[in-house]
């Protein structure tokens, strides 16, 4: 059976019965219950909070039971009708609600029977059913009841918390108790704040700034200034209350609860006089409490208070949110004076961190040297672009401390290497190591790339020189790592160069085929559509990729096939190294190397013929100049024209492809032998003046790989063996020799 009465209620009933028996009463009366109830803690709190004199109540009841009731019955006391009714009511009530009845329910039930001495006395002492009901509705006692079992509450005279105490934090009080963190700088903003707060009307400042620049700190600073008396006379005794909007919503069960709390709060602030209310994340108030049928939201409740100037309201929000909410709401934005909180520069940030240093040192039990702090500020400024000073620097300071604490190293000293590692991890970019130790293998880069790419040494050298320059940190600020236009015939290795550089530098290669972007609208593929169009929220592919991999090589193939307007988009990338997509996310290209490739000019070379290189180069340069606008060419680091491939290089390429294939076969336990004539034959077959080295792979695949594959799967080479390739009568001949099972 479901339990309907709580232990406390049972205890009360038992106690009342015992008392009635001891008194030798004929009946078990409601007054007995009330008297027994006074021993219960939850009832004690209710009575004391409703300011009922418990002692007097007790006295009256005891006197009544002693004098007015007949005693001397020896039978156990009988329950009166009223008593039964009350219990019935209690049980019925708890069945309906599915709750166990608590003493407070019993207390309320007593009021069901009027004209009893219990109720009369309670009413005399100033407590009637209405008051009790209202009180119980506004105070949820369930939780406290449970605590009471273990920890009895002392019946205290403490008054109920005011709305202000419940939903707001007194910042000036915190400042007085030195609980606020020290604030460095921000003098200008605080002066502007005090100015606005001193106005007669519309004295409501709104702090606007990017997240993490210290809007809340400005308010802290104001509170500290008020406490230290460092403000104009008229603001001297003011108090700042930081309003916790989420707490006001939490537990607002019914329509209007929240609004009532808000109203109460404003009323209390007005009563108190000289109050400044501070609402962080002010934009959250927009639309708060509004529904389909009711367009009034929290901001509308604030409006009268904003206008009459009795209380001053401060808000804080970011540019983005302000644009989305406040700027659209003219009546609201008219009532606020904006105070811009700018991102502090590196020097100020350094000072701020220095000011916070002792706090972090004592918390993490580590030491930060000055040079480390310097480095943190410098590197976060350089590499972390999507957050703001001073927050991003403070983050790193904090995280370094946490790192050391977790590792449990005895020597709590932060090294430069740790800073580098952490920021690399955060920014997903390898941070330059100052001591010149190159981890990335720059020294072998050139020889490695030259092994794979033939006949284009001048291109390789130029690109690598630029990379080394950038790695040394001597690159121009706010410019991509490098940007080259690679011109040349098809198949000479333009794309291959980008691939090899990316491979050897351990960077991701992001490739876009610009021939896909042949019309004006296709730019949306890269940077996303404008707001309101389909797919707006997805953002652009290019922006997303670069955001994900800010340290990469971007290869834009065949740009001459792209629409000229698409190319214009890249102008800003080359100039400012940033690109914003439709949904307002910005990708930074500071650590991205960009290759454009083009075939423009190659046709011209062909038509000239006779292999005069310098003439051909000039001609192709002219063609490029014609095709690409000067502002585009100017922003490039250089235009590299690739040489056409000559016989020597073709042979090298054939060699390389064959040796790659050999390695593959060796893994399958197959020996591969090829004669010089056969190689020559392949390179002759595989090279085409117009198509470059690309057909080579196809030739090798058709003439050699395919027949071998057939044997590999179905024939003699199943268990390994050897293959020899030779030329017989101007045709490739393959000889297979299988290996017998051992």
């Amino acid at each position: 059976m479901i339990k309907l009465l709580s232990i406390e209620v049972e205890n009360i009933i038992n106690a009342s019965w015992v008392q009635a028996t001891e008194n030798k009463q004929e009946y078990l009366l409601i007054e007995n219950i009330l008297l027994a109830m006074l021993e219960d803690n939850s009832i004690k709190t209710i009575l004391s909070e409703l300011e009922v004199n418990v002692d007097e109540l007790k006295q009256i009841l005891e006197k009544y039971l002693e004098k007015e009731i007949e005693h001397g019955y020896h039978q156990p006391p009988k329950q009166t009708l009223m008593f039964k009714k009350i219990l019935q009511y209690l049980i019925f009530h708890s069945q309906q609600n599915g709750n166990i009845s608590h003493p407070k329910d019993l207390f309320l039930a007593i009021f069901n029977e009027t004209e009893t001495m219990a109720v009369i006395t309670l009413e005399d002492l100033g407590l009637d059913e209405q008051i009790l009901k209202e009180y119980l509705q506004t105070h949820d006692f369930d939780e406290r009841d449970e605590q009471d079992i273990s920890k009895p509450l002392k019946p205290s005279k403490k008054k109920q918390k005011t709305t202000l105490e419940q939903y707001a934090i007194n910042l000036t009080l915190l400042a007085k108790e030195n609980m606020l963190e020290p604030v460095i700088g921000r003098d200008e903003e605080v002066v502007r704040l005090t100015q606005i707060l001193s106005r007669k009307n519309k004295n409501n400042p709104l702090l606007v700034g990017e997240s993490g620049v210290g809007k809340t700190s400005c308010v802290d600073k104001l509170a500290q200034d008020i406490v230290s008396g460092n403000v104009p006379k008229q603001l001297q005794d003011w108090e700042i209350f930081s309003i916790d909007v989420t707490a006001m919503i939490a537990g607002a069960k019914f329509r209007g609860d929240f609004e009532k709390r808000m109203k109460d709060l404003l009323f209390e602030l007005e009563e108190k006089e000289n109050c400044i209310a501070f609402i962080d994340e002010f934009h959250t108030l927009f639309g708060l409490g509004a529904s389909n049928s009711n367009q009034l939201d929290a901001t509308n409740i604030l409006k009268p208070a904003l206008m009459n100037g009795k209380i001053k309201i401060m808000g804080a929000t970011t540019y983005d949110e302000a644009k989305k909410t406040l700027d659209k709401n003219k009546p609201m934005s008219r009532r606020f004076q904006k105070v811009d909180v700018c991102e502090p520069d590196e020097e100020t940030t350094l000072e701020i961190i220095k000011g916070l240093k002792p706090n972090f040192e004592s918390f993490h039990n580590v030491k930060y040297s000055e040079s480390i702090l310097n480095q943190i500020v410098y590197l976060t400024g350089k590499y972390i672009n999507d957050e703001h000073f001073p927050d991003k620097a403070i983050d790193v300071v904090d995280e370094l401390g946490a790192m050391l604490k977790i590792k449990n190293i005895k020597k709590k000293q932060i090294t430069e290497k740790m800073v580098n590692d952490l920021i690399s991890k955060k920014a997903k970019v390898p941070v330059i190591v100052k001591d010149g130790n190159d981890k990335i293998g720059l020294s072998n880069l050139e020889s490695n790339v030259k092994k794979e790419l033939f006949g284009q040494d001048h291109a390789i050298e130029e690109v690598i020189e630029k990379i080394i320059l950038a790695r040394a940190g001597l690159n121009e600020e706010n410019k991509p790592l490098f940007a080259y236009l690679l011109a040349g015939d098809s198949g000479v290795g333009k794309t291959e160069l980008a691939k090899q550089i990316a491979d050897n530098l351990n960077m991701r290669l992001i490739r876009f085929d610009m021939s896909e972007l042949h019309d004006e609208v296709s730019i949306n593929k890269l940077i996303g559509t404008s707001s309101g169009y389909v797919g707006y929220e997805e953002g652009g592919q290019l922006v997303n990729e670069i955001k994900k991999y800010p340290h990469s090589i971007l290869l834009l193939d065949e740009i001459e096939k792209a629409h000229p307007k698409v190319l214009n988009t890249f102008l800003q990338v080359l100039e400012e190294s940033e690109l914003s997509s439709g949904d307002n996310t910005t990708a930074y290209f500071n650590n991205v190397g960009i290759f454009f490739t083009t075939n423009v000019g190659s046709n011209v070379t062909k038509s000239v013929g006779f292999g005069n290189k310098s003439v051909a180069k000039n001609k192709s340069n002219i063609a490029i100049e014609k095709r690409f606008t000067p502002e585009f060419r100017n922003r490039l680091d250089g235009i590299i024209t690739f040489n056409s491939l000559e016989e020597k290089q073709i042979l090298q390429i054939t060699d390389k492809l064959i040796s790659d294939f050999k390695k593959q076969l060796l893994n399958k336990n197959i020996k591969f032998v090829i004669t010089k004539q056969a190689k020559k034959y392949l390179s002759d077959e595989g090279f085409d003046d117009k198509l470059g080295a690309r057909p080579m792979k196809r030739v090798i695949q058709n003439k050699i790989k395919k027949p071998i594959a057939k044997e590999l799967v179905l024939g003699v080479l199943k268990n390994g063996g050897s293959v020899s390739v030779s030329i017989v009568k101007n045709e490739i001949k393959l000889e297979f020799e299988g290996m017998n099972d051992a």
């Binding site: 409601i30 006197k63 009166t80 009708l81 009893t116």
Partner: protein, 85 residues
Amino acid sequence: MIKRPSHRFKITITDTTATQTFLEMILLTVFRKTEQETIKILDRKHKICGCYPKEIAEMKVLQVNELSISNKQPINIEMQKEIND
């Protein structure tokens, strides 16, 4: 201090065909009157049995009614708010 007559109820036997002994029994047991008091009460036309708080008065009336039914002695008993004089 608690003298508040208005909160007490007067129990009166208004009409009865019950036997004298039955009425005596009721006054003696239910209302715990002495024998002399019983005689005095029964002599009067308004047979006032006593004044009690509402809760108790209710019980007494109930008890008398139960007894009258079980003993087949019709009795009409009323309770009304005591009027202060």
